[in-house]
Subunit: 97 residues, 2 copies
């Protein structure tokens, strides 16, 4: 089940913090570590989990690797959740540019 993976990714505080900080910008691992109270290996571990779930995009520049949240994937996950567990709810417009 795809939704199970989505849920598992969201079930950790550190992971949600990482998602939040690289939500709207590209950050290196070091920059993420600087903003969160865990060690670098721990951040790398969570980035791997996020990467495996397709929830994060990466871009190498020299020694550094930039990470950013894949907002599109977040939305598709949310939609899948709503479709599965709230099929009777009219969702209307949630946000529009």
């Amino acid at each position: 089940m795809e939704l199970l993976d989505f849920g598992k990714v969201l079930a950790d505080e550190t992971r949600q913090k990482i998602m939040k900080v690289c939500c709207c910008q590209k950050l290196t691992v070091s920059e993420i570590v600087a903003q969160i109270d865990v060690t670098q290996p721990t951040v790398s571990h969570h980035l791997k989990v996020l990467r495996d779930a397709g929830l994060v995009l990466t871009e190498r520049r020299g020694k550094e690797i930039y990470y950013s949240l894949n907002q599109k994937k977040v939305v598709s996950g949310c939609c899948a959740l709503a479709d599965t567990f709230a099929p009777d709810m009219p969702l209307e417009i949630i946000r529009k540019e």
Copy 2:
């Protein structure tokens, strides 16, 4: 963080199965047990988790207690997720009655 609880609830396969079966109908604990491959205490445990998160509605009728998924809460959780982790995405209309 509210979102963390939402994620944790979603992070278990049995819980997702329970959510699915009582998504669009009221079911007793026994009826849920009959549809899922775990014991009654395990189902009760998960129903408690769901209840504490406000994700399930209950209704007592005699000896039996009917459970049904709170779809409204599911949607508000999905919206909170999108607002937090996908603020740049235009969500448009997802579904409409």
